[in-house]
């Protein structure tokens, strides 16, 4: 991973905006799926697929590749769009999301689409699988890194804390977890459904290195990833504070958008807002 220059940063921000457009498009087309989480993680997935990961979209099974494990599979639209734009599969295929015979399953399936490292959907099991990959890399003396993308809500699963404990014990410094800390889950705000704070204290007590970042500041996120690479003897967790539905004002910070797609009118409104960068420029589409 090279340092992030200003020009590259600007490019990534533009890509992230296009990723958001792609998410709105595909969710409208699918007629079901999750909106808020994917939009909130667009900046981070863009940073991962276009800057952080050491990977080759044309060789998805390259053994030395970095692994990106998506634990909260329901935000896969953001991963699918980022992967398509990165060259894993044709962009046209995004419109097949959740339809019969698609490779883009409603929750991602490893066997269906090259580049998907593991099947996910049921929550709380992704970090363990990333740990398995990190152990395998250590046994094989590989230099690659394992990234695990997590939701905050899935921290209510027992399986997840079993994994946190185990990674700390085994000092898995080739593992970086990223939490989408958007404070929402299906039934409401995480802190009212089941309080998770202090996440930092919890991870630190399990012998993890903890970094808090603004999840929409790509530069700061990339810095955190660099820092994680420099920490030995501990796995790192990046707590990325994000705004659910980011970029579409009527979806932002509203848990009701966790698990539903936009209808035709909402999609048009959302795309218009994204294409005008929040009404700062005039859209050529209007």
């Amino acid at each position: 991973m090279e340092p992030l220059h200003e020009k590259k940063l600007k490019h990534l921000e533009e890509v992230a905006n296009r990723v958001r457009e792609g998410i709105v498009d595909m969710l409208f087309e699918a007629g079901s799926g999750h909106s808020a989480g994917p939009l909130g993680m667009a900046d981070i997935f863009t940073a991962m697929y276009f800057h952080v990961l050491n990977h080759d979209p044309k060789k998805p099974n390259w053994p030395e590749r970095d692994r990106l494990v998506l634990s909260n599979g329901h935000i896969c639209p953001v991963q699918y769009v980022a992967m398509a734009y990165a060259g894993y599969f044709p962009i046209d295929e995004l419109s097949t999301l959740r339809k019969l015979n698609t490779r883009l399953q409603g929750h991602p399936h490893r066997g269906a689409l090259p580049g998907i490292e593991t099947t996910s959907g049921p929550l709380g099991s992704g970090l363990s699988q990333a740990i398995g990959m990190a152990l395998a890399s250590k046994l094989d003396k590989k230099k690659n890194r394992i990234y695990c993308m997590l939701s905050d809500g899935e921290h209510e699963e027992g399986n997840h804390w079993e994994a946190v404990m185990f990674a700390g014990k085994n000092k898995l410094s080739n593992l970086t977890a990223v939490i989408d800390r958007n404070n929402i889950q299906i039934d409401g705000d995480t802190e009212s459904v089941m309080p998770l704070e202090s996440l930092r204290d919890k991870y630190e007590s399990f012998r993890w290195n903890v970094i808090d970042v603004d999840g929409h500041n790509i530069e700061r996120f990339v810095d955190a990833v660099f820092e994680a690479k420099a920490i030995y003897e501990r796995p790192t967790v990046i707590i990325a504070h994000t705004i659910p539905g980011k970029g579409v004002s009527f979806m932002e910070k509203d848990y009701k958008w966790h698990g539903k797609p936009p209808n035709k009118e909402e999609a048009r409104e959302a795309l218009s807002e994204l294409r005008t960068l929040g009404r700062r420029i005039k859209s050529e589409h209007e």
Binding site: P63, V69, H109, R110, G111, E117, T118, T119, S120, G121, P122, G124, S125, S128, Q129, A130, I131, G132, M133, A134, L135, A136, S137, L139, D140, G158, N159, E162, A163, M165, F166
Partner: protein
């Protein structure tokens, strides 16, 4: 009479037949598998000695992972190892793994097609004094129903060693079921073991019934066959160590010969070996069948042999099932 081609233990009907825990075969087999393939790794959840993983842990410490009492994590860490070129064996009591972590096995191992072997120990009610919480009697059903999963139930410690070694070379998710108690040694090193191939252990001249058994009940089925011979009732005894994929050809052949079936397993009569056989027969050759196994109840504490008698899985029960099914022909 005993099928000579099966090369069974000549002492198997003796009072002093040697008995070894079936799980010992796992301990021996996993060492051989580990020596043969450096990708074999073992994961344990605080039961290293009683699952007989200690030998492997000692010999290959870098390939042994202690996860503590955390079966869900064990299954999912193994799933990650299994998609990264490793051949992980996850070991615990079958009530916990594949009991507690069933969904993790379903999603991250079976559906994910990860190369993980699930070793379920202390299966069946012959676990004994620990009681019903520790007696896995549903695991064949819950593993058999999963797509991509293969299911093996060895009948003694020798066969357990062979199936453990063989499983490392079978690509994909596999469930291996081991019993705790000393079990009479039925087979020998020379007995054939082919995954997916049921073996005829006993065949009378004029068989009227086929007894299809797996695990600890294979020996009991042979004892039953010997007693039935004195009553002039001829039977065939099949050791059906591979529950999935089922050896349909061998089973349909012997059922055709006899026209009546008794299945015998240390498991609920719903969904296990008996279920698998009846599904096959319903589709191909509807045949009267009696089911020896746990009849829809939980076990309890007690000595293994006491429990097997009380819960209807003794030699006597197999014999009465044979009588019953003959009347239904």
């Amino acid at each position: 009479m005993i099928n000579p081609k099966a090369k069974l233990n000549p002492k198997l009907f003796d009072e002093d037949v040697e008995k070894f825990p079936i799980r010992n075969g796992f301990g021996e087999g996993i060492l051989i598998a580990g020596e043969t393939d450096s990708n074999v790794v073992v994961l344990c959840a605080d039961l290293t000695e009683s699952t007989r993983s200690d030998g492997f842990a000692k010999k290959f410490p870098e390939r042994f992972f202690e996860l503590g009492v955390a079966e869900q994590n064990m299954a999912t860490v193994a799933a990650g190892l299994g998609v990264s070129g490793k051949i992980p064996y996850i070991t615990s009591y079958a009530t916990f793994s594949p009991g507690r972590n069933w969904e993790q096995i379903r999603t991250t191992i079976a559906y994910n097609d990860s190369n993980v072997k699930v070793a379920g120990h202390h299966a069946g009610i012959s676990v004994g004094p620990d009681g019903a919480t520790h007696q896995a009697v549903e695991d064949i059903a819950t593993m058999r129903v999963m797509a991509n999963m293969k299911v093996f139930v060895p009948c003694d410690s020798i066969e357990a060693r062979k199936v453990t070694v063989a499983s490392a070379k079978i690509w994909g998710p596999v469930y291996l079921r081991y019993a705790r108690e000393g079990t009479p040694v039925v087979t020998t090193n020379e007995s054939k073991f082919i995954p997916g191939k049921a073996e005829i252990f006993w065949e009378s001249k004029k068989p009227q019934v086929v007894i299809i058994a797996c695990g600890t009940l294979v020996h009991s089925a042979l004892l039953a066959a010997k007693k039935l011979e004195k009553e002039k009732i001829g039977v065939i005894v099949v050791n059906n160590h591979t529950i999935k994929p089922l050896d349909e050809k061998t089973i349909l052949d012997v059922v055709k010969k006899t026209g009546a079936v008794v299945t015998a397993e240390e498991h609920q009569v719903i969904g296990g070996l008996g279920g698998a056989i009846s599904e096959l027969l319903a589709k191909n050759m509807p045949t009267p069948q009696e089911f020896v196994g746990l009849q829809g109840v939980f076990g309890e504490s007690g000595k293994p042999e006491e429990l097997m008698e009380k819960y209807g899985m003794g030699v006597r029960d197999i014999i009465s099932a044979v009588h019953k099914v003959i009347k239904r022909k």
